[in-house]
């Protein structure tokens, strides 16, 4: 299958690969998988609890080139955004940006799911720790 130039570029030079401390109360971790192909993606966000802004994002993805490119692009897109803005991101933006073919659309869905899972993890962690919810209006 032919990958678009942008996919190849992200695949060869993935941005923001890495890990953060998952126990850090300001870090949200999303671990999601693609049930059809078995790709696994972990996305971590460092969120400023006062402003609700995503200050840093790291990912590790094990899967095809499109899955890696989708997560790499996702980290670039959400850095600097508020959690609400990031939560609202739709996979179609990734599809368009990377020019993903129909058979690879699920890779972008995976990235969207990972963003949502990471934000939910962050919110849940703060709740469990008895900390105030990050209140930001998008």
């Amino acid at each position: 299958m032919a990958y678009s130039e942008k996919v190849i570029e992200h695949y060869q030079h993935p941005r923001n690969v890495g890990t953060m401390d998952p126990t850090d109360v300001n870090v949200g971790t999303g671990l999601v998988g693609a049930p059809e192909c078995g790709d696994v993606m972990r996305l971590q966000l460092r969120i400023n609890p006062d402003s609700g802004v995503i200050e840093d994002a790291k990912f590790k993805t094990f899967g095809c080139g499109s899955a890696i490119a989708s997560s790499s692009l996702a980290t670039e897109m959400i850095k600097g955004k508020t959690v609400d803005e990031a939560y609202a991101i739709k996979n179609t933006v990734i599809v368009k940006e990377l020019n993903l073919p129909p058979v690879k659309i699920h890779c972008s869905v995976l990235a969207e799911d990972a963003i949502k899972a990471a934000i939910e993890d962050f919110k849940k962690k703060r709740e469990t720790a008895g900390l105030a919810a990050v209140a930001v209006a998008a």
Binding site: G38, V40, K60, F62
Partner: protein, 198 residues
């Protein structure tokens, strides 16, 4: 979506008679083969060509057990793509194993390499065990399903029938994770970088 079982005139079951399937395939292809429509008008010719290619795709789906099972589940409204309830422990297993592979690839000293290779061997063994357990359960579910007659639509299925198919869909998706990981482990053991292409 098109019901390939219906198109081929065979029962909607997990197991199919391959000889019968092949026979039906040739019959269908004979009707729509482009060569039979050389003298027809262009619109009809295009139609025949599209039909012929659809039949090929349907045949590929029905011929192999896994795509066939996925198709059956999809007809009942259980597309594998919507199996989001993957156990987090399974995802974590995949993540940990993949990190081991990455470590092995980065390792430069002999001792680390040996230790990692040993650990990967254990991972491969565990994968194999889990995969055969899944396949065993799948085979049993398929057999039990095929024994009885079922309604054609999900809304008409009984609660146990729904559970039956739901479990099948879950198993197939879990298998996909193990399969992808298996490729990576195998590539690492052979000293190759895994380039995953589904």
């Amino acid at each position: 979506m098109t019901d390939h079982f219906c198109r081929f005139g065979i029962d909607r079951t997990f197991a199919v008679n391959r000889d019968e399937l092949e026979r039906r395939f040739y019959e269908l292809q004979l009707q729509s083969h482009p060569d039979r429509h050389v003298t027809a008008e262009i619109a009809r010719r295009d139609e025949a060509l599209a039909e012929s290619s659809d039949i090929n795709a349907a045949y590929r789906t029905l011929r192999e057990p896994l795509p066939r099972a996925k198709h059956l589940l999809e007809l009942y409204g259980y597309p594998i793509s919507e199996q989001k309830k993957v156990p987090q422990t399974l995802l974590m297993t995949v993540m940990e194993a993949q990190e081991k592979i990455a470590e092995l690839e980065m390792a430069t000293d002999r001792a680390t390499k040996q230790r990692m290779a040993h650990e990967l061997g254990a991972v491969a063994e565990d994968l194999e065990t889990r995969r055969s357990a899944i396949d065993e359960e799948r085979a049993k579910l398929a057999k039990d399903w095929d024994k009885a007659m079922h309604a054609a639509e999900r809304t008409k299925l009984t609660a146990p029938e729904e559970e039956h198919l739901g479990r099948m869909a879950q198993l197939i998706s879990e298998r996909a994770y193990l399969e992808t990981l298996h490729w990576s482990v195998q590539a690492a053991q052979e000293g190759k970088a895994a380039f995953i292409q589904h």
